[in-house]
């Protein structure tokens, strides 16, 4: 036991004295959360909006004012003729234009034909679809307020209700993804690199010629990274809740339990990589190419795995992070009970057992 503790102490010294490691292990997770939460978001703000209304009525004026006051929109002005729509969109003076029919005011409350036309610059299709959604929602809201009691405005016949994330904040989506990525980074990459470093520098050679069991050397090397991953888990959750307003509606116990399971999975991946790689560079490359890239692209962190081509979707199913993210979204944002995330838990458990089994089989008690 004394051996074990002395070894863990040594491992902490290594991390503590390596400024780069500290930066990656403690600062990066927080920076990533803040970056994805604020800077890199798929939220759309300051949508330049123009209105084409045949009659320049008081209602239109007030509508423009309401739109301008909303931080999501910038009102850029009234248009006079239809040709101007194209002109405004082409020159990027406006991102969105709204065209009202001539008799809009009279017909909107009477249920007659009152089609409002929304034109959006769809050069970036994702942004365009978000913008048109926003505009439709906003018009519906404004007009509802103006409506007399009991009369529904007829702007849109389909009433979309956005559940769990009504403002469509992308940070909600990113937080579970980042947690999934950070844990792999710390537990799999940093751990494997630190084990392989000892192989490369030859210190492992000396350690192997000692009464300490090779397997306990590895476990002792993982303990500090496990601790750091837990610290990160807590700090990410605090940031997510207080700074990014992620609801964390589900059971906190299960959020943490599943995260710990995922951390253990990532650690065993790290150990597996370290038994395969001979140099730090190789360990880093394996982590980056075999782990990071698929996680970022295929785990559903950024692109939904449901809309991938069948082959990629199939591949995404073997990425542990996909299941972790899915479970976290269910628990943190939807706030459902654990029953609905049991499938993910079982898959993660199975994957962990599988990786540990391979690692033990591949584990070397000698140099080759």
């Amino acid at each position: 036991m004394n051996q074990f503790l002395a070894f863990i102490k040594k491992e902490f010294f290594h991390i503590y004295r390596d400024k780069r490691a500290i930066l990656i292990l403690l600062v990066m997770p927080i920076a990533q959360i803040l970056l994805f939460g604020f800077a890199i978001s798929t939220d759309v703000k300051n949508i330049k909006t123009a209105i084409l209304a045949p009659k320049h009525t008081e209602m239109m004026e007030r509508l423009a004012e309401e739109i301008d006051q909303n931080p999501r929109f910038d009102f850029v002005g009234f248009l006079q003729i239809e040709n101007e729509i194209d002109n405004y969109l082409r020159t990027n003076k406006a991102d969105v234009t709204i065209t009202f029919p001539a008799n809009f005011e009279n017909e909107v409350y009477s249920g007659l034909d009152n089609r409002v036309c929304i034109s959006v610059n769809a050069t970036d299709p994702n942004t365009a679809s978000i913008e048109s959604n926003y505009i439709a929602q906003e018009l519906y809201n404004i007009l509802s307020e103006k409506t007399m009691k009991g009369i529904e405005p007829q702007v849109s016949p389909i009433n979309v209700h956005l559940m769990y994330n009504p403002q469509m904040k992308s940070s909600f989506n990113f937080v579970p993804g980042i947690m999934g990525l950070i844990m792999i980074l710390i537990c799999a990459m940093m751990t494997s690199v630190s084990i392989v470093r000892e192989k490369e520098s030859g210190t492992l050679e000396v350690l192997l010629v000692s009464p300490m069991k090779p397997f306990s050397i590895m476990i002792a090397k993982m303990v500090p990274y496990f601790g750091l991953a837990c610290i990160n888990l807590v700090s990410i959750m605090i940031l997510a809740y207080y700074v990014l307003d992620v609801p964390l509606t589900g059971s906190l116990f299960w959020i943490i339990a599943i995260s710990l399971l995922y951390i253990i999975l990532a650690l065993s991946l790290g150990l597996l990589i370290s038994t395969l790689a001979e140099t730090q560079i190789a360990a880093m490359l394996i982590s980056a190419i075999v782990l990071m890239m698929p996680i970022i692209l295929l785990s559903g962190m950024i692109f939904p795995s449901e809309s991938m081509p069948p082959i990629l979707e199939y591949i995404s199913k073997i990425i542990p992070t996909r299941w972790y993210i899915s479970a976290m979204r269910k628990l943190m944002i939807q706030g459902v009970s654990i029953q609905y995330a049991l499938k993910e838990v079982y898959i993660l458990l199975g994957m962990t057992a599988f990786i540990i089994a391979i690692t033990i089989k591949k584990f070397k008690i000698r140099l080759e």
Binding site: G202, V206, V209
Partner: protein
Amino acid sequence: MIQVNDIGKSYGKVEALKGISFSVDKGEIFGIIGPDGAGKTTAFRILTTLLLADKGEAFVDKLDVKRDFKKIRKMIGYMPGHFSLYPDLSVEENLELFASVFGTTIQQNYHLIEDLYRHIEPFKTRRAEKLSGGMKQKLALCCALIHAPKVLFLDEPTTGVDPTSRKEFWQMLKKLKAQGITILVSTPYMDEATLCDRIALIKDGRFLSVQTPQETVNRFNENLYETSSTDMFRLLTDLRKNSEVKDCYTFGASHHLLLKNDSSLEALKKKMLALGHQDIVIRPTEVTIEDCFMKLTKE
């Protein structure tokens, strides 16, 4: 204490060890002498249970290096050829770590490392990476000794160490031998060979001879000459062309010379003078381990 029977090891197509056999008695300093790439490190790794041999068997204190590797790992001290302590830990932290890994404390075996540690104690808070080459090796030896091993395996412990530190290092090994510790040491420096009780000369994975340094020198059994002139390089090529010369090779600042027939010495000198060599000196010299090594490699 160590028994090696026909150990061989290949890395892919490269045959690093081609079947070596030797034995080391308790309390003996046994040296494996040979150039880089001769197979010294492979031999050490097999004996320290780090590699498995392809053929042959080896025992350390009657324990099989393959089967009883756990027991062997507890009772030997190993110092690899390259510096393999933690550069970011201080001198004291390194020593403490290795003491704890072997389940002991610095105090418990301080008597073993006292002489060595005195030299590095003033720098005990300094990080290992900031130590000089000699200091690093002293610390590495301390770490290998801290658990009072029965057998010490030192793979090129003095490579890259200054002459004074090398001398101190070997004095230390003599003291450890006096305490009954068996030492297997390898070195590329032929001059260190005489400090061992017995030496094995190794080349290309094969032992050329296993004897005491004195026996090795005695077996040379030929007259050796030292020669020099103002133009050393031309002298070497001219001597090698001469039919009377059996062998000629550079040795430090002079050349060492072996003749087919000793009586032709004066004639050879004249021939060299005729070729325009100035200040030519040819005189008998003492045989060193390196000369034996050169001779054995050529046989």
